[in-house]
Amino acid sequence: MLQTRVGALELASPLLTASGTFGHDPAALRFLKTEDLGALVLKTVTPEPRHGNPAPRMAEFTGGVLNAIGLENKGLAYWRDHVAPDLAALTVPVVANAGGHSVSDYVAMTEAFDAMAGVAAIELNLSCPNVADGIQFSTEVAALKEVVAACRKVTPKPLWVKLSPNVASIVPFAKAAESAGADALTVCNTLIGLLVDWKTQKPMIANGTGGMSGPAVKPLALRMVWDSARAVSIPVVASGGASTAADVLEFVVAGATAVQIGTASFRRPDAISAIALELRELLTENSTSLEELRASLRWPHPVSC
């Protein structure tokens, strides 16, 4: 009932983990039933180790979370030796997520992931808002196009491009990624935000600004999914505040092929299985299907102001 296809990738479910919210390795899979998870999208890996930001790295607001972890990871060599060998034996497809400082970094990551049998698809994190030098790829169309085209040349594996919401319109970025050879878009990364402690007159997290996630960003992500799904013919994977089966169906109606679950996994590590159960019930009760609902949003007639 939940089978979904994202390009060439056959998935048991439209529910995916969101990068950065389910670890660098498959350890947390123990909380999920495998038939509920479409793909395991892992945390960003960069060519060199990154120590990440000082603490505090996360703070809350009503309806969401602000984080600036700073892409803490042990680097590609460690990941290749200690994580990748365990991935091929998993029953769920793994989407590896690449970060970097430069086009050559992204190409090196893509080549490395391409060579790993356990990596089914590659997601480019061009929009992590926390590392100053990563921001240009996701907010400048030409830079995005260049890096995606360069990565496209070095892998036949499905290449997903995770877009940033921190732009006036996502449409030129969605189109640029598609024309540069992306197989799917992930829409979208976190929204840059700021939380302030008025008593200390300091930001709540050590980095100053951070990325907003959680239920509060869902309307923004829905708009971004709706805008990008109409602009391109490749699949759109939604990411942004989904925490219930109804949220998932809203994204599907707006045009998403699959939906990543992120912050909701912090409250309960089995969130994806809980949502899958609820999703099957909703589809059955309403005698409908993901196919029937996909991109079915009926837009109201334009209203003049």
């Binding site: 950065g20 919210t21 389910f22 670890g23 350890a27 947390a28 123990r30 909380f31 945390k43 120590h51 990440g52 603490a55 505090p56 790295r57 996360m58 703070a59 809350e60 309806g63 969401g64 979370v65 984080n67 972890i69 803490e72 042990k74 959680g214 239920p215 912050t263 996994s265 912090f266 409250r267 309960r268 590590p269 089995d270």
Partner: protein, 275 residues
Amino acid sequence: MATAELTAWTAPCTLLSRREVGPDAIIMELALPEPMTDVAPGVFAMLSPADGSGPEIPRPFSLYDLPAPDRATFLVQIMGRGTQALAAVPPGQEVLCTMPLGNGFTLPAPERPVVIVAGGVGCAPFLHYLRLRLQQGAGARTHMIYGAREASRLYDYQAFAALDGIDLRAATDDGSLGFHGNVIAALDAGLANGTLPRDADFLACGPAGLLHGFADYARKQNLQAWLSLETYMGCGFGVCNACPVATEPEGPLGAWPWARTCCEGPVFPLTSIQF
């Protein structure tokens, strides 16, 4: 240290009872989906109201006690949004619980003395620990200094006092019970007058100020010490990297500059972290 991480489960658990144990603290008793045995003291759970009424992030609590194999209690100091939401859950309703998480305390051999230093809600990892020490027959070699600002904030003090054979010492800033002063001063006094052993495992849990004071003191005195850290956590099960603690480069975790409090901790040997 005993790792609980791989056996962790997550489930909505019925709140069986809730009782006040101070002006701002309660003990919540949950029905577990299956019996828990052989669980290390100092492991923790992530708790939030199952109806989603709390913040997006659950809160970490040490496992306080196991009144029965299928019932667990948690000592909750009501501090902010997360704990207020938990305290508002009425008995009969469900609390979402993920546990056992993290690395707890390892009990030394019965002959080895233990000195516990706890402040306020920092007593939480130790009730279960003390029960296990008594089972070891090591009560006479187990000392606990339990401190707070005032006697009313020595949460559930009677439960500790009821453990026959443990050397329990209260310390209060205002002198309303036991030693007049903080736990570090009480520790120093006990070591100076010979009523506390120096060659022992020293374990501490409490607010940041207490832990920093304890860490400084333990380093100066060259005590063999462990800390149970209370750090803001996003997930509690190792995936978000939001609970970093700086590692000691020369220590056992020194290969990476950070440890995750939720996975490598919350109990750390003092020699492994910069704190």
